[in-house]
Structure formats: structure tokens, C-alpha cells
Symmetry: C2
Subunit: 221 residues, 2 copies
């Protein structure tokens, strides 16, 4: 299976975003708009006119709504390939506040993804906001947990910020499972920029009492 080809439907595999192209295009347009809103320098009159027209478009979209964001089945145990969170607010293809990142689960059981964050994500001057680094770490770790077929939520999250994380540079995110004991799965993650780790994270994900594990242990403990 290549990373970019279509993925057949069924348990243990991902869904095909090509089936929802119009929605994905709209979400991408909303992301472009957000950047434009944050960086615009047009005169106040024009800001007011655009605001009015934006609200009109919002009105058209809310003529028919759903109570929750669109969701598709998550990959189950043993999945390899690209993981597309459907409406996930961190890595969701259909959620405009999500970061445009689609991690890949490799044959070695590691989740990896690359993302470049622009001015919208600036905390200290020319650096990514520390809270967004935390969000991304939890996002990629949680994605790996689900790709391992484990039903669990974040129990503890510990992050060490080793170096500033730059804006406008490709950030490589990775996560791997290090242990699974009873209801607790421990995941290590990192953010790397220009070949240098900027944030290291450890997450302990806890399964609900009585949850049936879909597999006894991660592929690569």
C-alpha cells in the first residue's frame, strides 16, 4: 500500500477522502480565510464589508447542519499507512481548526508526520506557541494509540521543551509505543526541526475499566 493511493474500506483500514472532496475543499478554503483574517491590513471599511459577506456565507452553510462534526471509523490494530482524523480538532481533515497534518503509521509501528506552521501559530516572536507544541504532541501520540487498536484517553502528558520550535520550517513529529501494562499504554513522542529535537513528550494513555483490548500489546513495544 502506498501512502497516497486509495485505501479500500473495511476494518483495519482508512477511508478515502476523495469521497468527500467538496467538504475537504471547503475546509481548506476556511483555513486560507483564517490566515487572511489574521494577517489582513485592508482598511476598516473593507473589513466591515467582508465581515458582512462572511456572515452571509455562514448563514448559507447553517441552513442544514449536523449536531456533531463528521466522523469516520478510525484504523484498527495493525493498520499501516496514512491516518486521516475525520473531524479531530488536532489533525482532522474536516475540521478547520485542525493543523493540516496527516500522520503515517510505518511498518516499524511508529507514527510520523511533517507540518509547517505559519504566523497564525506564533507565540514568542518567530516561534511556535508552546501550547501548540503540546497540542501536536498529544495529537500524534493519540493517533498512534488508536492505530494500535487501543481504546484509551490521555492520562498524563509530560513535555520537555529542549529548544525553541521555529515558525515556517518543516516540523517532523514522531511517536512510538514504549510499553503496555494493564490499562496503561506509554507513548514517547518528539518534535524535530532542522534535525534537532525541540520538544520531547511522554504520554500515558489509559483504557477504560473493562475495555476489551483489541490486541494484547503494541506491534513494537
Amino acid at each position: 500500500m502506498t501512502n497516497d493511493g486509495p485505501v479500500p474500506a473495511g476494518p483495519g483500514v482508512d477511508w478515502d477522502p476523495a469521497d468527500h472532496r467538496d467538504r475537504a475543499d471547503l475546509v481548506e478554503a476556511a483555513r486560507r480565510l483564517m490566515s487572511a483574517v489574521a494577517l489582513t491590513d485592508v482598511p476598516p471599511d473593507e473589513l466591515r464589508r467582508v465581515t458582512e459577506q462572511l456572515d452571509r456565507l455562514t448563514g448559507r452553510l447553517t441552513i442544514a447542519t449536523r449536531p456533531r462534526c463528521l466522523r469516520f471509523p478510525l484504523p484498527t490494530a495493525g493498520f499501516q499507512g496514512r491516518v486521516r482524523g475525520s473531524a479531530d480538532p488536532v489533525l482532522g481533515l474536516f475540521n478547520p481548526i485542525a493543523v493540516p497534518l496527516t500522520p503515517t503509521i510505518g511498518a516499524d509501528g511508529t507514527a510520523r508526520g511533517t507540518v509547517t506552521l505559519g504566523p497564525l501559530f506564533e507565540g514568542p516572536p518567530e516561534l511556535v506557541h508552546g501550547g501548540y507544541s503540546a497540542l501536536l504532541m498529544d495529537g500524534i501520540m493519540g493517533t498512534l494509540v488508536r492505530a494500535l487498536g487501543i481504546n484509551a484517553m490521555t492520562g498524563t502528558l509530560t513535555l520537555r521543551y529542549l529548544a525553541p520550535t521555529p515558525l515556517d520550517r518543516p516540523l517532523e513529529l514522531s511517536a512510538r509505543a514504549v510499553s503496555r501494562e494493564g490499562r496503561k499504554t506509554t507513548i514517547e513522542g518528539r518534535i524535530t526541526a532542522d534535525g534537532r529535537p525541540t520538544v520531547l513528550g511522554t504520554g500515558i494513555f489509559v483504557s477504560p475499566t473493562g475495555a476489551t483490548p483489541e490486541r494484547p500489546s503494541p506491534t513494537r513495544p
Copy 2:
């Protein structure tokens, strides 16, 4: 000083968003649009038409742009009142991806704020995504650090998820300084829903070498 009244300009105080009403209104409209995009259920034809018109509005806003998001001076040591991050991606009034939360620094040196997160922020069913809880914790802790007049970035962040954080319920965020030793300032924070803590956090914020502290210790260590 009340929480809602105008705030005079000058060192140690906040800026007045009324001076930038048109921009704040546009950002609010962009937030409404994002929710509509995520929850819309209109037919594909209409999705395509709205996408096209959205891109036209983006084009109008990008006729004149700035390289970075708009920023205003942050409050300095001893500040009390509402803290409005200008373009901050976590709590920024002028950043559409930010959460609409404006924390208040009280006379006791504690930062507090309330926010309700809707379907856009859903992780597990009907719960706030754990990554967003991490983002909010870093956001309110970092806001307090700046309101104490301390120049520092997140060094370590440790979060314990005690209970699920519900969607569509008011979440109370708080942060207080517990110690300051050399370049390290330790902040404790929590998220409370329905009177019950859901996330506890400890952040160690580290000042750059040679940074001149604006005050020797937090107001309430």
C-alpha cells in the same frame, strides 16, 4: 477597575479592544464560519459555491497584508484585570484559531477564565480533545507568567487528566504561581467542570540567560 470597563493605555496595563472593533468583529465572524463549515450538511453543489465565494473574500483580505499577526504590548508586572492576548494562537482576540477566552488577573495573583467549547473541539464522543486541554493549560499559565512581568518560555509541562472534560459546559481555568527560583518560575493550573477538577497541570517556565527580571518574585508565591 472592573473587568469590563475601558483600560487606560500605559505600562502595566492592557490595551482597549474598542480601538480595533472592526478587526475583532471580522475575527468573530471567522470563528462563526469555522463552526458552520465543520457542522454544515448542505448539498455538495452548495458546498462548492460557498467555497468559491469564500476564496473570493480571502482574495479581498489579502490585497493588503502584514507579515505577522497584530500584536499589542502585554501587561507588565503588577497588572490586574483582563488580559487580552492580541494575536496569541491560544487566547488571542485577533486570532481566529484562538479559543474565545479572556483571562482575568485577580488581586490574589491568580489568573482565571471561563470558556465553553463546542463540537469543533470534540475528541472522544462529547468530550474535549485532550490536546486542547493541554493547549488551554499552557495558555493560561503562560498568560499569568507574562502578567507577572516575567519573560520566560515553557520549559516543562506536566498534565494529569483526572476526569473527562465535557463539551458544551462552562470550563473554569485557573493558574497560580507557586515558586520562583533563579530562571525558573513554577505555575500550577487546573481545568474545572461542574465544580470538579478535570485536568491538573504544572508548568516550569524558564527565562533566557541574562534576562532581567522585572520583579524579584511573583505577587503570591
